[in-house]
């Protein structure tokens, strides 16, 4: 019997553990290892030979000294501070509206709000790119006709144009998670609240919002991580504007170091640093909301 159980445990957990080790732990370990090495060159013009030698924290120091890298981290943090709350509030409001008693055509609107998430990020960026580029964009032209000169791709605005793409893509998705949580609330609670005379606003404020809290926390953590990993949107918009370069976000920076400059060691160090920042922010946020819950 016991033997059978061990076998069952192995059979059920085995595939997961194998994939987890092969596709998750191993690459992380390899990145950590790579981040501690550097390439040493010799011979005329440095073309003679190269070999990898232990570098200690040299790559980390180089990454932290690099204004382009630190600048890109600060940029996505600014992005996150503005975009994440905006999007989460929007998602929650949409969810509450669709879950209110007076909502009409709920399935249609729910699908409509979720639909942008079905568009792959690259396609979404190309699509919005066309709506941003002066000379092509009907929006720019319309505003121009109204006497408003806007440039969605200038150095001051492009970050928020990217925020718009991300919000468009993910607000509906986050809304769906919040709705799923609200659906899990027992109907008796709503009935009890209604019998006690709660109106729609009070229902939302004192019942639904607290009930949806776990979903809101979850979507916020996902959004923080997603923000730090911004990649395809700036990559696609890059050729359209001088305001986005190859080191615009930390991920793009690491990609450029690895695949354009062949500097795998520095790229690995940047990736590890980025993961650390994501960890600190995610767990920091979880602790913050956890503490509030205790109080």
């Amino acid at each position: 019997m016991r033997r059978h159980r061990t076998l069952a445990v192995l059979a059920l957990l085995g595939p997961f553990c194998l994939l987890f080790a092969g596709c998750f732990l191993a690459p992380i370990g390899y990145a950590l290892y790579q981040s501690l090495l550097k390439v040493e060159r010799s011979g005329p013009l440095g073309l003679g030979s190269d070999r990898s030698v232990f570098a200690g924290a040299a790559n980390y120091a180089a990454a932290l000294r690099d204004d382009e890298f630190t600048g890109s981290v600060v940029r996505v943090l600014l992005f996150g501070v503005v975009q994440v709350p905006l999007m989460i509030v929007l998602a929650v409001v949409l969810a509450l509206l669709l879950e209110s008693a007076s909502a009409r055509w709920v399935p249609f609107f729910r699908s409509a709000f979720f639909l942008p998430h079905g568009v792959p990020g690259v396609i979404a960026s190309i699509l919005w790119g066309f709506l941003y580029v002066p000379g092509i964009s009907p929006i720019v032209k319309l505003l121009d006709d109204l006497g408003l000169q806007v440039n969605f791709l200038s150095s001051g605005t492009v970050l928020w144009s990217i925020a718009n793409i991300v919000t468009w893509q993910f607000a509906g998705y986050n809304m769906l998670i919040v709705i799923a949580q609200l659906k899990a609330v027992r109907l008796e609670l709503y009935e009890a609240a209604k019998i006690d005379g709660a109106n729609a606003w009070q229902l939302a404020r004192y019942l639904k919002l607290p009930m949806a809290r776990p979903a809101i926390v979850l979507t916020t953590v996902f959004s923080i991580i997603g923000t730090l990993q911004l990649f395809s949107e700036p990559l696609v918009l890059r050729p359209l504007t001088v305001a986005v370069n190859d080191t615009y976000t930390p991920n793009l920076n690491a990609y450029t170091q690895a695949f354009v400059n062949n500097n795998y060691n520095l790229a690995a160090a940047e990736a590890v640093l980025l993961a650390l920042v994501a960890c600190v922010l995610s767990f920091g946020f979880l602790r913050l909301v956890g503490r509030q819950e205790d109080e």
Binding site: K38, V39, E40, R41, S42, G43, P44, L45, G46, L47, G48, S49, D50, R51, V53, F54, A62, F130, V133, P134, G135, I136, S155, P239, L240, T241, V242, A243, N245, D246, T247, T256, F259, V260, N261, N262, N263
Partner: protein
């Protein structure tokens, strides 16, 4: 962890850089390098070739029909930094690179640094030097080694809208002074139009502008890579464009993008100083303007000393690790010099031939309806003769081009001096090379 110091002298004895590469690649590869493996007579082999050149498959098919024993398998890859190079570098690292690859001139040093290219001198490539335009041949020469078979380049000229210049009442400029005057007259005649746009993030274009002015950004001297971006000539170019931008005489915006194409189609941009391969870009994206374009030489700094420049260009290289480098070189030479192959490549639009004397009588040497039935390529044939031959690239050129784009973009936005931006790029480039573990000198 100090490595045993190999001095240049010890390395340069024997067969020089070639031996240096082999020596450094430790014992087993030394043997391989000494006697390159080759095909047994009658043995059938297949060479892998990664390229993105449009229409190159036709040349490959022609070769395959003539060489049943040495077949070439072409794999189309995405051009440049977006696909081909990351893929080639990864394959080199993994030890299974293709036999042949498309490598742009400006990327050859980056590949050398990763030990990615085969020195072709030991396979006898020097016997074929005379078949290629000299400056393009030089792009593959480092030390005593030759690392690439030149394929095509981008001699520069000025594409301009004859009808628009007439409507504005402005003569097409022949010097940069006239260019400025014309730019001013166009703004006055038609406030919606500009003589041209200035692409702030196009490092290749700005390099070409500096190349024409006589700058020599990079060189090699002994063991050192020489960086001389911050020179009088570069500052002259930078200051000139800064003046035009400040006076709103040119429009700073990325070229070859949808917004720019819309302006080209509308005729609110009068000209484009660009490479010969720009013809297909204009014809393909602004078909409605057919017949209205003409081509002239680039505006000159000094009419007494005419100079042109080059933008882009690439080679066929034999990658390090090919089992059949001799056959790979044979194919590369045939591909880029055989008249039938070159003709097919020209039809595909591969650029300006690196093969000597390939122009006259070829498909390029014909009147074109898009350019008002002019034999416009005669301009580029002359331009090709006016290019400074000694221009070199460095292994961190992608970085330099990015720094340049960033610095100039910032200078435009903050209204700071372009000359200072150039000085910054010089410092950053020296730092990039140093960080790669290379020795750097400044001129």
């Amino acid at each position: 962890m100090a490595p045993a110091k190999l001095t240049r002298r010890t390395l340069l004895t024997g067969t020089a850089a070639a031996a240096g590469l082999a020596l450094a690649g430790c014992s087993s590869s030394t043997d391989e390098a000494a006697a390159p493996p080759s095909r047994k007579p009658g043995e059938k082999i297949t060479l892998a070739f990664w390229s993105w050149v449009p229409g190159i498959e036709k040349s490959v098919d022609l070769w395959n029909s003539k060489n049943p024993e040495v077949q070439v398998k072409l794999e189309k890859v995405i051009a440049g930094n977006k696909g081909a190079y990351p893929k080639m570098f990864a394959a080199l690292k993994a030890g299974n690179p293709p036999d042949l690859g498309q490598v742009e001139y400006q990327q050859i040093p980056s590949f050398l640094l990763e030990e990615g290219l085969t020195d072709l001198t030991k396979l006898g490539i020097n016997d074929h030097a005379g078949k290629f335009v000299d400056w393009q041949w030089q792009q593959g020469v480092f030390g005593d080694g030759v690392y690439a078979v030149p394929q095509a380049s981008g001699p520069m000229g000025m594409y301009y809208r004859e009808d628009r210049f007439k409507a504005w009442g402005v003569q097409p400029p022949t010097t940069w002074d006239e260019f400025e005057t014309a730019a001013r007259a166009i703004r006055k005649a038609d406030p919606k139009s500009y003589i041209c746009s200035f692409p702030p993030t196009s490092g290749g274009w700005f390099s070409a502008m500096s190349w024409q002015a006589g700058a020599k950004w990079f060189d090699v001297r002994g063991d050192d890579w020489v960086v001389n971006i911050d020179s009088e000539q570069t500052r002259q170019v930078a200051t000139y464009w800064e003046k035009l931008i400040r006076a709103d005489l040119v429009k700073p915006e990325p070229d070859q993008q949808s917004g720019w194409f819309a302006e080209v189609q509308a005729g609110t941009i009068g000209c484009w100083v660009a490479a010969q391969w720009g013809d297909a870009i204009l014809a393909g994206n602004a078909a409605n303007t057919s017949g209205k374009w003409r081509v002239a030489q680039m505006p000159q700094w000094d009419l007494a000393k005419p100079a042109s420049s080059n933008w882009g260009g690439s080679s066929t290289a034999v990658l390090n690790g090919s089992k059949y480098p001799k056959e790979a070189l044979e194919f590369a030479l045939w591909l880029n010099t055989d008249p039938a192959s070159v003709d097919l490549l020209i039809q595909g639009g591969y650029g300006w031939p690196a093969a000597k004397d390939a122009f006259s009588g070829s498909a390029l040497d014909k009147p074109s309806p898009f350019f008002g039935n002019a034999k416009y390529n005669e301009v580029f044939a002359k331009s090709d003769q006016l290019i400074d031959k000694s221009w070199k690239w460095i292994p961190t050129i992608s970085d330099t081009h990015r720094h340049l784009g960033d610095a100039i973009t910032a200078a435009i936005a903050k209204k700071t001096s372009f000359a200072d931006a150039i000085a910054t790029v010089q410092q950053q480039t020296v730092a990039d090379l140093t960080a790669k573990g290379l020795k750097v000198a400044t001129a």
